[in-house]
Symmetry: C2
Subunit: 419 residues, 2 copies
């Protein structure tokens, strides 16, 4: 893609009305726009990162037999009253409004209730189970404070999967499969080595078992104790409840990047989602829910990897793999010609951005660093006189001068070592 064909504009400074590092850098780089505290628009580069993260999540969910659907944001009062989660004293993050006829409605902050209610149309026999449905849904949560950029939005994108199983045993098999799918997701988006599964209590969702996925991150709101030797982690609640000896563990700040819940059969029983089992007995369905805050994950990645020059993206979610920084000032010169040659040679194999803007070298290099695209090919007079270009690894800052004929081999080599 040619830069001149893209809607993006960087800023020289961070925005002054933004406290969170992730939103500061993303706005400076032209990836997102702040509509209000906790609500952001995603511009072309931002949407590319978001879609890359969604694709990785989608592939993992599909591999685990997940079925993509999309529920409505508009929510009926009665559905949530059946589990006593409509009342603001129980759930204090509802955005509510009303229809013209005065009927109260809510905007979905979660979807266990409506999807479980819907399943009454689809589940009546053990032959209908299991069902694993997921969606990428815009959630609305009326957060009292929304100061963490895209890490905690009043409006944000979540991947939420709901599992409906015949019994606890089947449920657990799938639940454990999801833990593996989640691990694979965090690995692929570039958070693998710093993300840990912790046992935690269910909070507003359930009194039953749940797990959190916590990523080491200074901007995080949680504290966990990491037992690296056994690859385990404990949150403070678990430490207190189980009297775990933490003196040998690392105490770190973390951000929750996912959570999964076992509801047992309580919620389905409460909502009347029953099925006739093979033994002829009518039983409540066993429910699990599995969430990943997609936009939050993007925010955590920015917090962890961005440096003083700007964004740094893991290769699988970067808006482009490679940016060609063409320092040409003239469409007739050798630099222009060579930039075009390299662009054409590699653009079908990689996602490549050609910076063909009519701007000075300094501004282009400033923007290339700010965008955080993992590989830069810098083409200027000086190197070209030697038959070379520079290749920069944005992740570690290393720059190498490479002979024109070796460019493709070198790209391959560096792509392999990128995270």
């Amino acid at each position: 893609m040619r830069h001149t064909n893209i809607f993006i504009k960087t800023r020289k400074e961070y925005p002054r009305d933004e406290l969170a590092k992730n939103a500061q850098v993303l706005i400076k780089a032209g990836f997102v726009h702040k509509e209000m505290a906790g609500a952001y628009a995603y511009l072309p580069f931002g949407i590319r990162v978001l879609e890359n993260i969604k694709k990785i999540a989608r592939d993992e969910m599909n591999s685990a037999s997940g079925q993509e659907i999309i529920m409505s944001s508009l929510q009926k009062k009665e559905t949530w009253e059946s589990t006593d989660r409509w009342n603001d004293s129980n759930v204090d993050i509802w955005f509510k409004s009303e229809l013209k006829n005065g009927t109260e409605i809510g905007f979905g902050w979660s979807h266990e209730e409506p999807i479980t209610d819907m399943m009454k149309n689809f589940i009546s026999s053990y032959k209908d189970l299991p069902i694993y449905t997921y969606q990428f849904q815009t959630k609305f949560r009326n957060e009292l404070r929304a100061k963490s950029g895209i890490m905690r939005g009043r409006e944000f994108v979540m991947k939420d999967l709901y599992s409906y199983s015949k019994n606890q045993k089947d449920h657990e098999v799938f639940y454990n499969k999801m833990i593996e799918a989640y691990k694979s997701f965090y690995e692929k988006v570039g958070l693998g080595k710093d993300t840990f599964v912790t046992v935690a209590s269910g909070g507003v969702f359930t009194k039953n078992i749940s797990h959190e996925f916590q990523t080491i991150c200074d901007a995080g709101e949680d504290i966990v104790y990491i037992d690296r030797e056994n690859n385990k982690a404990y949150n403070e609640e678990a430490v207190k409840e189980s009297n775990i000896e933490v003196s040998k563990f690392e105490k770190v700040k973390t951000a929750e990047v996912g959570n999964i819940f076992s509801f047992g059969s309580d919620k389905c029983e409460q909502m009347g989602l029953m099925f006739m089992d093979s033994d002829g007995v009518n039983k409540p369905v066993t429910l699990g829910s599995y969430g990943i805050g997609i936009t939050r994950v993007m925010g955590v990645i920015v917090e962890k990897y961005a440096d003083e020059k700007g964004l740094v993206w893991p290769k699988n979610i970067a808006p482009y793999h490679i940016v060609i920084v063409s320092l040409s000032k003239d469409k007739e010169d050798k630099v222009y010609e060579e930039s075009e040659n390299i662009y054409k040679a590699i653009k079908d194999r990689y996602e490549v951005l050609l910076d063909d803007r009519n701007m000075n070298a300094g501004s282009k290099m400033f923007d290339a660093d700010l965008y955080g695209i993992p590989l830069q090919i810098i083409i200027g007079d000086k190197s070209l006189a030697k038959g070379c270009v520079e290749i920069k690894n944005r992740q570690n800052g290393e720059v190498v001068e490479v002979d024109l004929k070796d460019v493709e081999d070198k790209l391959k080599e560096i792509l392999l070592i990128l995270f």
Copy 2:
């Protein structure tokens, strides 16, 4: 894809709480679920159709230099007050709510204002223009009545593009390019021959010029006069305003499936979106907006083509191209084996659904018709004894018996004549 791996369940009857044909058939076929009047969930087959329509729209917008972004649903009061469209007496379809601190917010029913407001950060010089941004956005509209199924939702998906141009002349070039892009879109989704561009007044959007795209459809809410000879159409307002002689024209019921608006420079002037032109003069930007109700288009297609047996999809948006109706009752029999063989032979070339459910022949054929997948390959004992299978064209109902060795050629042949 194997049917047994998909979350879908058809009904024997239409739902009783639904008035609109489109939603009745979609619910009966298991494509959508009704959450409340005007708010529907899309299940796996429904989401496939929706994504196919979105992909066609996306490709058209990208070909016309459109840039995909996604704005927020949450809307600031001040942004809309600047054009006097916050007040319920001017715009009566807002869903409004409030933040914890009492600040009023709205849920986006359109996005001209927020996107124009955002552009103040990106447009200051003629060098920044033109910009063509679009999104697939969930819109919320508090409709008094919502009785048209997915054709008129309180929550629905819209493709909306906004063009920012230097002057009226540049604007008009792009505006006309959009008319062509829209025509191409309707052609590809299967509405081409019955969709007409009409000149209409702007309604709530603008007093300036606008065009509607109207599709002949009994469930539509509009009336237009079609001059087939000159491939033109006029709505009633235009006929009245311009005293057009309509006696020779066809008077038909239509559904609006798209609309495009020229705002001139009024709105940008009102909102303060100015740019320094090459002549050194500060001028307001010229705005256009271009909408397609994606879910509405899906509804119109159902209304037009569904018959007494169920859905009928145009080939480009069908959830699958081909369904293999395997009438096997035993995993050891010849029918099972041949169904698997054909599935494996064609599944990499087409989107193929293999109905491998353990059900009787009648139910499978009932569902295949109901799903509306354009091509059915019916494999049963009787034909197979002759070394044949049946191929059914769901669009015209024709069934041919085809020798096993000729299946692939016949599929190709019929796919060519499908709309």
